[in-house]
């Protein structure tokens, strides 16, 4: 080994410590018996019990999950449609403009997106009476608008990588265009749809700024509740909640890894 070969491992360890020490301390303090977040008072699962009784947090989590589920699903449908039109309908005149417009929300500051959507909802309510008030519906619509852009980009790149002649071959074999889309295009781009859905779900679950603008009374999302709680001082209940979320994410990642690993092994076996 070269002299000084230890610098790289040490840097590596430091990097990981930097990344994971905060998370680790959060997990540890979620089992703290003491009310004070920074003082260790012995091991206890007290805050988990309290979390289960905290209807405000549980309600917000339920709202967040619903919003994330619906907005991800709608965003996948609309985003796929947009990507398909942009990729497959040749070079129509407004194509460049449309591409720009579809992807603009990716770079738009959230504050502006949130504010403009709020103005839209308010004026729509005045004009046509819908959406009546603000709440889950408006948050979902708002999330669809920005998640759609991400989905469109993901799907577009998958469509670009897809061999055009697949669709032509299906048509040549007697399938009408709609049939071709459902039989061939959709299955081939399915991985992109799954990826897009997961991305949209996560983005929606994560969003604080836009939701704060367009939500109404009784429809606070989880990030909003956590944020407002933390402003009053970090509560150990939030630590417990965060630990549960980390656990869920870890399990999700583990399942995904295992799945990919199995797929690869299968592919090698054949």
């Amino acid at each position: 080994m070269m002299r000084g070969g230890w610098t790289l491992p040490v840097l590596c360890v430091l990097g990981f410590v930097f990344l994971y020490a905060p998370i680790l301390s959060l997990v540890i303090f979620s089992f703290n018996a003491s009310q004070l977040v920074t003082v260790w008072g012995g091991f206890s699962t007290r805050w988990y019990g309290e979390l289960m009784r905290d209807t405000q947090i549980l309600g917000a989590a339920w709202i967040s999950l619903q919003v994330a589920f619906f907005s991800a699903t709608i965003a996948v449908a609309l985003g796929t449609l947009a990507a398909f039109v942009l990729m497959r309908f040749g070079r129509f005149r407004t194509r460049a403009l449309l591409t720009g417009m579809v992807t603009a929300p990716l770079v738009m500051p959230e504050v502006i997106t949130g504010l403009s959507l709020l103005l839209l909802f308010v004026s729509m309510e005045q004009l046509i009476g819908w959406p009546a008030g603000r709440g889950m519906t408006t948050v979902t619509i708002a999330h669809v608008t920005f998640c759609m852009a991400f989905v469109a980009v993901v799907v577009q790149s998958r469509l670009a990588g897809m061999d055009n002649s697949l669709e032509e071959a299906a048509m040549d074999l007697g399938a009408r265009p709609v049939r071709v889309f459902f039989d061939i295009t959709l299955p081939v781009i399915a991985p992109a749809l799954v990826a897009g859905w997961l991305l949209a779900f996560t983005l929606s679950l994560d969003d604080l700024v836009i939701a704060s603008f367009v939500t109404g009374p009784g429809a606070s999302t989880l990030p909003m509740v956590i944020f407002s709680k933390v402003r009053l001082g970090v509560s150990p209940v939030v630590n417990a909640l965060a630990t549960l979320i980390i656990l869920a994410v870890a399990i999700g990642v583990a399942i995904a890894t295992w799945h990919i690993h199995r797929r690869m092994k299968e592919a090698r076996k054949d």
């Binding site: 002649s165 299906a170 048509m171 040549d172 074999l173 007697g174 299955p187 081939v188």
Partner: protein, 379 residues
């Protein structure tokens, strides 16, 4: 040989015993200002295996795609079995296409890939499956029926693609460089299989290729394309022995071209004064040309005789120096630099395993050929 398979009785393009099955009439395709296919007219008969031969970018695929219905002609008319194809979408045409990239559906098994067309046609599932089994047997892929395309080798994929296009028994089968991805040996085997299948099913094949040997082996007739135009149509031997232009002569096989001017034009013989040849070329037949016209004399390398001593009796001869000898196994190619400075290629079969006395490079040698060996070209 292959030529015998298409016996004289089955040559409707010679005797016009039946109407053409597929008519392409003055078809032009423009992409913006660019003309990809330029006023192509072709008549193709039932049961033919017609090869479209041409260099890269000459418009072969575009022509094929217009037959399949993926592109609409800018001008002209396509007729299949008496039916005008204008405005008929691909999914309603009596054609099937085998794509250059095979275009197998990656998420379906071999079986389902092949059954797809039949099911879209409304064939019952049981019947479809039995037809799939039949065609799998024909292309010798039965044991791979349950595999996905990514689990197959290139040659196997190609056979699945062929089976998928064949199973619907189209009136016309279009094949875009069907054997492009195969190695030489597999390619030759598959060519014979393709011929066998074509003769068994009697389907009209149109094959695009840029490989002139492949075109020679497979086809009843060849259409040579250049820059969007069909420059010559004919049977393989006709294209090879009677090319109509320098382009065709050069594209199909190897050729020596001598530029010259007609100096004697009689009923059954010509003389060409050629500086490149360093004298006069005697031709034992006449063509439509006028005295003093600029022409090219095309001579295939295998028609050139090579000797050490000045040969007697041949109508044409010239002296030169052997510049290069390329050993190809079955034959050798000699490059001879004539006294006029022109390089001429001659091939010679390697009949003996060791020929100690073989003519080799830097030796003076004579080339000679008879007065019927070459062709006079005016273009």
């Amino acid at each position: 040989m292959i030529q015998n398979a298409h016996a004289a009785s089955s040559r409707p393009w010679v005797a016009e015993t039946e109407p053409p099955f597929l008519r392409i009439q003055k078809v032009t395709k423009k992409f913006g200002d660019f003309t990809a296919v330029d006023e192509v007219s072709l008549d193709i008969y039932r049961g033919e295996l017609f090869c479209l031969l041409g260099g890269s970018g000459c418009g072969k695929s575009t022509l094929l795609r217009m037959l399949a219905g993926f592109e609409a002609p800018s001008e002209g008319r396509i007729e299949i079995d008496g039916q005008d194809m204008a405005g008929i979408p691909p999914y309603e045409r009596p054609t099937n296409m085998m794509f250059q990239s095979y275009a197998l559906f990656p998420h379906m098994t071999v079986e389902r890939n092949i059954a797809y067309g039949l099911l879209r046609e409304g064939v019952k599932r049981d019947e479809a499956m039995s037809r799939v089994a039949d065609i799998l047997k024909l292309v010798q892929m039965t044991q791979f029926a349950r595999r996905k395309p990514h689990q197959l080798s290139g040659g196997q994929r190609q056979r699945v693609a062929l089976a998928r296009a064949l199973v619907k028994r189209p009136k016309v089968l279009l094949l875009d460089e069907p054997l492009g991805a195969l190695d030489k040996k597999l390619r030759e085997e598959t060519q014979f299989e393709l011929l066998k299948i074509q003769e068994t099913l009697g389907i009209t094949f149109i094959v695009v290729t840029h490989d002139q040997e492949e075109a020679m082996t497979l086809s009843t007739r060849i259409g040579v394309m250049d820059e969007g135009q069909i420059v010559q149509v004919g049977e393989p031997a006709e294209i090879y022995e009677h090319p109509s232009s320098r382009f065709v002569a050069d594209f199909v096989g190897s050729v020596n071209l001598f530029e010259g001017r007609i100096s004697v034009d009689e009923k059954d013989r010509l003389e060409i004064d050629s500086a490149e040849m360093g004298g006069t070329i005697h031709v034992g037949h006449s063509t439509s040309c006028t005295l003093d016209q600029k022409v090219w004399y095309a001579l295939r390398p295998e028609k050139v005789r090579l000797d050490r001593e000045e040969p007697v009796g041949e109508a044409n001869r010239a002296r030169g120096m052997v510049e290069e000898v390329l050993y190809l196994g079955g034959q050798s190619i000699y490059k001879i630099k004539l006294d006029s400075g022109k390089s001429v290629k001659a091939t010679k079969p390697n009949l003996l395993r060791h020929e100690d006395d073989a003519i080799s490079w830097d030796e003076p040698a004579w080339i000679s050929w008879g007065d019927t060996a070459g062709v006079v070209l005016t273009r």
